[in-house]
């Protein structure tokens, strides 16, 4: 599994600039919010956690079709399916590589971007924690959506329609952790982490079923 993760990381870094594209997109989404709602600092401070979370979701969505699509097109996926690693293991490796190239940079970039949106001082730690614990769920759910739509030509729009509803609970709880009015952020943070753990534990099996159906 480790060589597979390393291979995906190398591919991501050597072609298409790795996570730079995702981060550029994240920056643009965040930059557009003051253009849309006005540069009122109080308003921005109130909506900053939600904006950063939605920006993270959308940036994550952008690179989902890369998880399986290229390997599907050139037949690598079929070769991988006959390897000794089970398909669910391959899904774990792919989702992990996706998290390292997307979720992790997004989590780190959210801190400076939070400053742009006048994120309140005490929220930085909570935002960082909620993104760090929540983005693995995004990558694993995304891998599931990518596995389902891998055989569909021009499946990008369908992929977003399938994946975004599945992101709802993570977004609701995650954005809530960092907002200022929250009484009990630890409790919500634990729920976000539990969704991530649930996804890591179960989604790879669903991915394997979807990939098998597509490869048949």
């Amino acid at each position: 599994m480790k060589p597979l993760i390393l291979r995906d990381l190398k591919l991501a870094f050597r072609s298409g600039g790795g996570f730079a594209l995702t981060l550029a997109f994240f920056l643009i989404v965040v930059m557009f919010v003051p253009f849309g709602v006005g540069a009122n600092l109080d308003l921005l401070a109130r909506i900053a956690p939600g904006i950063l979370w939605i920006g993270a979701l959308l940036s994550c969505l952008l690179s989902l079709d890369r998880i399986f699509q290229l390997d599907w097109e050139d037949g690598t996926l079929e070769a991988l399916a006959t390897s000794p690693i089970p398909l669910s293991g391959i899904a774990i490796a792919k989702a992990t590589a996706h998290w390292i190239t997307t979720g992790l940079p997004i989590t780190l970039a959210a801190i400076p971007l939070g400053y742009l949106l006048n994120l309140p001082q005490q929220s930085y730690l909570w935002l960082f924690a909620s993104l760090a614990l929540g983005t693995p769920a995004l990558s694993f759910i995304g891998a599931f959506g990518a596995a389902i739509t891998v055989g569909i030509k021009r499946g990008g729009l369908l992929l977003s329609l399938l994946v975004l509803p599945l992101y709802i609970p993570t977004l609701m709880l995650g954005a809530q952790v960092a907002s200022t009015g929250t009484q009990n952020p630890i409790q919500l943070l634990a729920l976000v982490a539990s969704i991530s753990l649930l996804c890591i534990a179960t989604i790879p099996f669903a991915c394997a079923i979807a990939l098998r159906a597509n490869l048949r």
Partner: protein, 240 residues
């Protein structure tokens, strides 16, 4: 003799053809009686006036919107485990009906909400959950349409339905955390069964029964159509 016998499309067609007329008449009669009873023979509520009568459409459709998804979940599990084609087709047949029920429930709720709460829409936990359910129906239906190979489509939509169910339930409870402090959820989403008087309760039960029968009837009709379409394409493939 067991339920699994009807996994055979020929047997399913024979049985469903035999019981469909009875079911159709039953559904129509129950809905007519229930709605007539509810709309014309019940008194107006002392607080809500005659707007309360939309409950006879709102509650049954809302119930069926959720039950349709549950039925799709069970049918999807049966397809994944035992690979009975009728089961996959029944799940496909139920989805548009469930989506329509969700839409009717949302629409009647909005119409009821305007005079009662002064707004068509509020981000109340229950309303939000129904909006989320609607989005799940959209995704499920879109996936069926997008895949050409029938068995692959059945497999992928089944696994989507199962994963979707888990996340729909997660959303249902995440909504409660999310709307804390924004809204006083309890006073808006009144637990109808507990508060409703017997005068309203019995016609409501008839309406719910009628809606269940209507759902079963429509699913049977649509499943029969799917089976016939499948046969037709098989025949065409043989000709060419």
């Amino acid at each position: 003799m067991s339920l699994w016998e009807y996994a055979n499309p020929a047997k399913f067609m024979a049985l469903s053809g035999r019981i469909l007329p009875t079911l159709t008449i039953g559904a129509g009669a129950m809905l007519l009686i229930g709605l007539f009873w509810g709309f014309f023979l019940t008194p107006a509520d002392y607080k809500q006036g005659s707007t309360v009568k939309i409950i006879f459409l709102h509650v049954p459709t809302a119930l069926m919107a959720i039950n349709a998804w549950l039925m799709m979940l069970v049918a999807s599990l049966i397809w994944l485990i035992r690979r009975h084609h009728v089961s996959a087709l029944a799940a496909k047949a139920a989805a548009p009906i469930g989506m329509t029920m969700t839409l009717i429930a949302l629409a009647t709720g909005a119409i009821w909400g305007k005079p009662m709460w002064g707004t068509y829409w509020a981000w109340d936990p229950r309303l939000t959950s129904f909006m989320i359910l609607l989005v799940f129906y959209f995704g499920y239906l879109a996936l069926w349409e997008a895949i050409e190979d029938k068995d692959t489509a059945a497999d992928l939509t089944s696994i989507l339905c199962i994963v979707g169910s888990v996340f729909a339930i997660l959303s249902r409870y995440a909504v409660n955390f999310w709307s804390q402090g924004l809204h006083q959820g309890a006073s808006l989403s009144m637990d109808k069964e507990e508060h409703v008087d017997n005068v309203f309760y019995f016609p409501l039960l008839v309406c719910i029964g009628g809606m269940v029968l209507l759902f079963v009837t429509l699913v049977l009709i649509r499943t029969r159509t799917e089976i016939r379409a499948r046969r037709l394409s098989a025949l065409r493939a043989r000709e060419v």
